[in-house]
Subunit: 289 residues, 2 copies
Amino acid sequence: MIKPGFTGSPLDRSDHIRNDPEQYNALLNDWRGRVLGLDGLDPKLASEGGLHWHSMAEISAEVELILLGMDQGKPHFVPIVENAGGEMRSMAVWRALTVLPPEDAAIYGTARSLIDWHNSHKYCGRCGGTTKPFRAGWGRKCGHCNTEHFPRTDPVVIMLAEFDGKVLVGRQPRFPAGNYSALAGFLEPGESIEEAVRREIFEEAGVRCGPVRYVTSQPWPFGGSQLMIACIAEAEGMELTLDTNELEDAKWVSKEEARAALDDAPDKVFSAPPPFAIANSLLKHWAWH
Amino acid sequence: MIKPGFTGSPLDRSDHIRNDPEQYNALLNDWRGRVLGLDGLDPKLASEGGLHWHSMAEISAEVELILLGMDQGKPHFVPIVENAGGEMRSMAVWRALTVLPPEDAAIYGTARSLIDWHNSHKYCGRCGGTTKPFRAGWGRKCGHCNTEHFPRTDPVVIMLAEFDGKVLVGRQPRFPAGNYSALAGFLEPGESIEEAVRREIFEEAGVRCGPVRYVTSQPWPFGGSQLMIACIAEAEGMELTLDTNELEDAKWVSKEEARAALDDAPDKVFSAPPPFAIANSLLKHWAWH
């Protein structure tokens, strides 16, 4: 079974509490409450490994909190910290992800996506009025026109085109030297997952595809809140016409080459994405399937 | 092969033109251009069936247009009409969908989702400044802080829990009498498709589920822009505890009962969702699989 990164949070989201101000206030006054420790947007790590949690007593009453969920009777919160938006991941968070237990990475990912959403929805898109958090941090309401806004997630398709036992991997100019990954792009209004997969592969690499198989999915908390949807598409040919605004290079690789990359073998012909990226899960699924 | 509603648009979205103001201006002056006819948010129908298209000459130069895409060398646009937001579907659009060819429904769906997005993003969520369309209508830019905003789509999971050869269908109070459908809900930041499916079934019906199989997907243009992701989940039992805020009733149905509903048989025990809804495609896939 595939276990993509940022999945497997042990927290019960407890939607019913979000809608019940009385229950929520009781949780805010519960001494067992835990508040996620952050350093800017990066996770604070506990000395014994894992995320660092503050007690409620350490948190100023003015700090706006989001209820991440319940675990073993304890409410878990994260503060809505200010951020300028569109922050890319720091080296620190990247390093943290290589040591955090998967359940902790899932909690952190949820928290980071929600913080980003709050910061990018301070004003109402309909009327320009100021919005304020409600529903235990799972919404913002406009003080002017009363429109309710809810946390959003952008679907992204990420996929391998497959032809004659090989799959297509590409590299963006910003990737570390030698790194290749699955192609990816935002799904647009008015298209299905399958249509977005075919459109993106054709736009980026000039390859037409037929049937699309869904493989797995993952939330991704960098640059907002994304839902990564991993697929494999049957290509109709191997000739490439690259969109050089998107891709610096792309190539077809065999299962042996994919396995060598995933195993970090000395004779590997490319470097694979890190284990917490769904491109890694997708390539692994294909290479050993 | 499953062909969900609102898929199969013949238009080439031509992303490269959106980013090229010179090419885009040439299209705005192309006499072959076609502009989608709307009556409020509802589609105007042509007398010979299908969508009604205006020529460019019929459109005032002040109207803001979105480039839907190209077909046979002709640019296809839709005007950004004003709407108050959150409009539910009218009876007229519901009737139109029963007669529109699938390709036309797909074009209309894309247009409607984009119009809704423009109307709900007139102001910048970060700074409250006024935004203006750019990228051929596939974006809005803040005149104050320069933040670029792009059309968004909200992922929704829609699913059947399966146990012992039966699946769970439910009805919301707003459904027509006798109608049952798949359960559904918005995917939240920080969860995968599989996690959202399990959470929603448990929240709405109190049923725990294990493995989740993806079936198909569909864009849905009512109440914004949604990506419907249809799945089947393996339930661990049949006992129901309904969230009566969400569901008025739910029941387990057999393949025979699902087929009778889909065939609109006289002895049917429930009425199925309409063919252009993905719940119909999902139920069909399960009942005849």
